[in-house]
């Protein structure tokens, strides 16, 4: 029973991990840009939810559009006016740039929101459903459902809409996309905006179930990294599978070994996947390799 409970917890956590990782994955997959500021963007989303909820008293889940819109706008402006100028440069340049951006955002968050640890009290979210001895907290189930639904709708957007397909085309072959009349700079701006928006949404969900403070962003970037490598770069279903696998593996490691092995096993899994199946569980080779 304990084992089953821990696996269920892992799956629920995995949904959130998928949502944390998907924005990171899309940006990386399309632009070959590793956005080290992803975690800071998640924190910003969390604080937007925190501020709106504490000031207006509305349900934190209803603040998701606000966090999504704010981060979408921020992401668009960042890409359009800053990152587009360096995105063609070497991976080191973009890494250094996003690292700087991360430090800037973390410290702006600290200045704006202080280092105090915050959390939201959502009484109904902490109640739980008991199914045959398995405890299912409502908040976690809701977070799982929203995370999966939004991640899947991103997949639909990428495959079924003109803009989405332009993004995908750009990720496969930038030059061919440009020749077909796609505005690359605009597509990149949109991609980064969508990635940032998903970070903002993940932030709102993080705010509901975790405690958080501005310095915590980096650990989410690391989680996103592992999930993306596990699931496959730029792949939406991959992020879901990667997230859930990581959630289950982490929880099982804490249960069967010791809490201290949680991250060791998570990162061990990362190394194994890199060795045995570098394209990720659901990844396709060309996503990562077309761009040299």
């Amino acid at each position: 029973m304990t084992l089953l409970q821990v696996i269920v917890n892992g799956v629920l956590l995995g949904g959130l991990y998928a949502c944390i990782a998907i924005g990171f994955s899309i940006i990386w997959g399309v632009m070959n840009l590793i956005n080290l500021a992803h975690g800071s963007m998640i924190m910003l989303g969390a604080y937007i939810t925190f501020l709106v909820t504490t000031h207006t008293g509305i349900d934190p889940f209803l603040t998701i559009p606000a966090a999504a819109a704010a981060l979408f706008a921020l992401g668009y402006v960042l890409q359009k006016f800053l990152i587009n100028f360096i995105v063609q440069a070497s991976i080191f340049m973009t890494l250094i740039f996003t690292f700087g951006l991360d430090m800037l955002m973390t410290n702006v968050n600290l200045a704006l929101f202080t280092g105090d640890v915050r959390a939201l009290a959502v009484p109904y979210a902490q109640q739980s459903l008991d199914v045959g001895g398995i405890t299912l907290p409502y908040g976690r189930m809701l977070v799982f459902a929203i995370a999966i639904a939004l991640t899947l709708s991103l997949e639909i957007f990428l495959n079924r809409t003109r803009t989405g397909r332009a993004i995908k085309a750009t990720s496969f072959d930038r030059d061919a996309a440009r020749l077909s009349g796609i505005d690359i700079a605009q597509t990149y701006a949109l991609t980064f905006a969508i990635g940032a928006m998903m970070a903002g949404i993940a932030g709102s969900l993080v705010a509901v179930i975790y405690s958080f403070s501005p310095a915590m962003g980096d650990s989410f970037t690391m989680k996103a990294f592992v999930v993306v490598v596990l699931g496959g770069l730029g792949s939406v279903p991959g992020a879901i599978v990667g997230g859930i696998v990581l959630g289950i593996v982490e929880n099982l490691a804490s249960l069967l070994l010791d809490a201290g092995y949680r991250d060791a096993i998570g990162f061990g899994l990362l190394i194994m996947v890199l060795l045995l199946r570098p394209e990720g569980l659901l990844g396709k080779r060309f996503f990562a390799e077309v761009k040299g």
């Binding site: 821990v6 739980s128 405690s211 650990s219 010791d258």
Partner: protein
């Protein structure tokens, strides 16, 4: 070069020299004799910035108030007080370097402690090596005091004394709360606190039914709580810093655990805990170094603990927990030592500090030969209706203990 331009350059150079003289030598000559400079490295940014700010505010409270009295009167001469601060960004290695810098570059002779045992442990070693006194206010871990150091003193109760009253309370309930579950972050201070709780539980005949540590930076404790739930604990005692403790409180509720008492090494009195958790913070316990309700009265300023709290709130904008007064007390230790020896010689001041026996608004301070303050013991607060109230020891209690 014409003579004219040469002259003008010469006069500019002369002016520059004069200005340099004014700015570099002027103030230091004027200040050197009547200002005592303390030095501290604090976590003003980063992970521990909330706590670091409270420590700084406590130091600043003393400075502000003693300077308002005209300074410290040492052998008939008034000395103003100043503190040189550096921000270690909540990083232990940086803290060590900054203490070294305070001593070797800034010439600081009297050191104050950083925030937390993690930084205090190595920082005190730097002070000891330079044979300069360091009075720390926020290092509760016992190893700080058990290395045979001669220059290190702490104003607070050390961590082995934290859980004693809580375990005692559990054993004094009728019927006693037999099953104790212990969980802590795998870090110096929480580990020592929880280790002490484990041995205290055994001494008082309670059963430790669950004991586990989790690594720093853990974001999810649900697996641990699943295991803990199966042991049916009456008392859960958790050790870690604010973020984890808020997370733990949320996940204890989510996981459907219902202990009769839920206690934290620290948490409920820290900023954000009650505001974030609301109903889930109710009835949680924390051992505290100090509350404004305790019957202490300061001998330098004449403030009671409550006077301190009110003045502090008026000046710094928030109601103080134990961090600020504990910091102020470190400076009061120096204050009394300076006056007693009538000198600013670090060796003599160190000897006077070792013989400290004073009363402050933070409580009494008297050191044993390890530099631990043995004059006071911990109280226990419980969050009742959103406010911390003292529930133990019974003689200082403001309210009766509530069980869940």
């Amino acid at each position: 070069m014409s003579m004219r331009t040469f002259q003008s350059r010469l006069s500019r150079a002369a002016w520059a020299l004069v200005l340099c003289g004014i700015f570099t030598f002027g103030p230091s000559l004027a200040n050197a004799q009547d200002v005592i400079r303390f030095g501290a490295s604090l976590s003003l940014t980063g992970r521990l910035s909330t706590e670091g700010k409270r420590v700084k505010d406590g130091y600043d409270f003393y400075v502000k108030h003693v300077n308002a009295l005209g300074g410290i009167d040492i052998a008939g001469k008034k000395y103003k007080v100043d503190i040189v601060y550096y921000d270690d960004g909540s990083d232990t290695n940086t803290a060590v370097k900054l203490v070294e810098k305070l001593i070797t570059e800034d010439g600081i002779k009297f050191l104050l402690g950083p925030y937390g045992s993690g930084a205090s442990l190595p920082a005190t070693a730097v002070a000891e090596r330079h044979r300069l006194p360091m009075v720390i206010a926020h290092g509760a871990s016992t190893p700080i005091y058990t290395r045979g150091f001669k220059y290190i003193f702490g104003t607070l109760n050390s961590v082995d004394q934290y859980t004693q009253p809580i375990i005692k309370m559990a054993s004094e309930q009728k019927p006693p709360l037999k099953n104790v579950a212990l969980i802590n972050e795998n870090a110096l201070f929480p580990q020592l606190g929880i280790d002490a709780a484990a041995s205290q539980s055994k001494e008082l005949g309670l059963n430790v039914v669950y004991e586990e540590k989790y690594p720093t930076g853990t974001k999810d404790l649900s697996s641990q709580l699943v295991k803990m739930k199966a042991t049916n604990p009456d008392l859960i005692l958790a050790g870690g810093y604010t973020g984890d403790m808020i997370l733990l409180a949320k996940q204890i509720r989510e996981g459907g655990l219902k202990p009769k008492l839920l206690a934290y090494l620290l948490g409920p009195t820290l900023p954000g805990f009650v505001e974030s958790l609301k109903q889930d913070a109710e009835n949680t316990l924390e051992p505290v170094q100090w509350t404004p309700n305790l019957p202490w009265k300061d001998t330098i300023f004449g403030y009671s603990a409550m006077d301190f709290a009110k003045k502090f709130q008026a000046e710094f904008g928030y109601w103080p927990d134990y961090h600020p007064p504990q910091s102020s007390a470190a400076l009061e230790v120096y204050h009394h030592a300076f006056q007693k020896v009538g000198s600013l010689d670090p060796e003599k001041v160190r000897d006077a500090i070792a013989k400290t026996d004073i009363m402050t608004f933070y409580g009494p301070v008297r050191f044993n030969d390890k530099g631990q303050n043995i004059a006071k013991s911990m109280s226990v607060i419980q969050i009742q209706d959103g406010k911390p109230v003292v529930v133990y020891p019974i003689k200082d209690a403001e309210a009766k203990l509530r069980l869940n």
